[in-house]
């Protein structure tokens, strides 16, 4: 049975993960106004799910080491810290929770399902930290943040679905590149 293991990151890995982070931030850039103007939780995760999952899944297919998604989360969080501090916690906890869950279930990134789950659920797992930060910084209660429960449920399910679709597309791109000997 394949076991859970930590491998040290090389300079090559770090550079690739940083480049992936730069592209992830660029890909999600057009959705930034939605993220910043939405007063309820849900739309942010829904808007970011597809671009984040798509690009990060390519990164995880190349660097198949435990902690890769967390590193992407730290890098993107540190850059976003300069613009909106709350986003750091968002990125950090999102990547930590989704990677932990994926590794807990599938042990390592050799299994394609780990990549799918880890990058696909990244946006969904930013929801709890957004809620906590909104309570602490803006004094908004959970019910205030959720608003209409049906809309919230739809946004949440949409974030999961779009995340998984994005991760699947990313995996497909990685497959094509692997076939062409580029990865």
């Amino acid at each position: 049975m394949k076991s859970f293991r930590f491998q040290a990151f090389t300079v090559k890995d770090i550079v690739f993960l940083a480049v992936i982070t730069a592209v992830t931030l660029l890909a999600s850039g057009p959705f930034a106004p939605i993220v910043m103007t939405a007063s309820k939780i849900g739309p942010q995760a829904f808007a970011m799910a597809l671009p984040f999952a798509l690009v990060t899944s390519i990164g995880l297919r190349k660097v198949k080491k435990s902690g890769s998604l967390l590193i992407i989360g730290i890098f993107s969080g540190l850059v976003l810290l300069l613009m909106a501090p709350v986003m750091f916690f968002n990125q950090f906890t999102g990547s930590l929770f989704s990677e932990s869950l994926a590794l807990l279930l599938f042990k390592n990134y050799e299994n394609r399902k780990t990549v799918l789950m880890s990058s696909g659920l990244f946006a969904f797992f930013t929801l709890p930290s957004t809620a906590v930060v909104n309570i602490l910084a803006k004094g908004k209660s959970i019910s205030e943040q959720i608003g209409n429960p049906v809309t919230f449920a739809l946004f949440t399910l949409g974030a999961i679905a779009l995340g998984l679709i994005g991760a699947m597309i990313g995996n497909k791109i990685a497959d094509e590149l692997q076939k062409a000997g580029k990865m």
């Binding site: 990151f9 090389t10 300079v11 090559k12 770090i14 550079v15 690739f16 993960l17 940083a18 480049v19 992936i20 982070t21 730069a22 592209v23 931030l25 660029l26 106004p33 910043m36 103007t37 007063s39 798509l54 390519i58 190349k62 590193i71 730290i74 890098f75 993107s76 540190l78 850059v79 810290l81 300069l82 613009m83 909106a84 501090p85 910084a137 803006k138 597309i169 791109i173 990685a174 094509e176 590149l177 580029k182 990865m183």
Partner: protein, 225 residues
């Protein structure tokens, strides 16, 4: 050797930027918020941040009006004003964070013994956002030249966009990693720095004024509760 620059220490700028933003969000609903914004604007002008402030004014105006208008759809005039104030808080924090030069931030992080993989990664992300923006523009131009349109053939467009982008990502990161390795860079060794980032008298003066002003507003906030 310390270089004589007008810039505030990058770590101080980062911390104060965070404080300004978080406190700004807390103070948004206070009647004296406009005073808070004016006080720190004056402080920035005293420390010669006028060029950065001029750069940020269009963003704050446009984004503030968009945020205000969007809030007005569901909320009251008061809520719209709070939304504009939030953008103002972001703009104020942005003056300080935009003044940080990435290389100075990385050097000061190295001085603070932050792991090198973090400072290297941060520098790459900041630098490569601009490079990849240019790459994306070129790829989109190539797609347009081939007559592929997203509206008519989204699958083909996505393929023509993502495959070259990923290949560029791979080749750029390979080249950069090789270049770093040949220069003896490794994540576990301690490197030397070309420039030492010092804490100057100007930093001290800014810190004292900034913290004094902030303390006054925190006091006003707590007294009002």
């Amino acid at each position: 050797m310390c270089k004589r620059t007008r810039d505030i220490h990058p770590i101080l700028s980062l911390i104060f930027s965070l404080l300004l933003f978080v406190m700004g969000l807390l103070f948004v609903k206070e009647t004296w918020f406009w005073m808070y914004a004016i006080t720190f604007s004056v402080l920035f002008l005293l420390f010669r941040y006028e060029k950065l402030m001029l750069k940020l004014i269009p963003f704050v105006l446009v984004f503030g009006l968009v945020m205000g208008s969007l809030t007005l759809i569901n909320g009251s005039m008061q809520d719209a004003l709070y939304a504009i104030y939030r953008v103002l808080a972001l703009g104020l924090a942005g003056v300080l964070s935009m003044s940080i030069r990435p290389i100075r931030l990385v050097r000061s992080l190295n001085q603070l013994r932050v792991p090198r993989w973090i400072s290297l990664g941060l520098l790459i992300v900041i630098r490569f956002i601009q490079i990849f923006r240019e790459e994306i523009r070129r790829i989109r131009q190539a797609i347009a030249l081939r007559g592929i349109r997203f509206a008519s053939t989204p699958a083909l467009w996505s393929r023509a966009f993502f495959i070259p982008l990923t290949v560029r990502m791979l080749s750029i990161s390979e080249g950069l990693a090789t270049s770093l390795e040949t220069r003896g860079f490794s994540t576990d060794s301690e490197g030397s720095s070309f420039e030492v980032i010092c804490f100057k008298g100007r930093d001290l003066a800014f810190s004292i004024l900034f913290l004094t002003c902030l303390t006054v507003y925190v006091y006003l906030f707590l007294r009002g509760r």
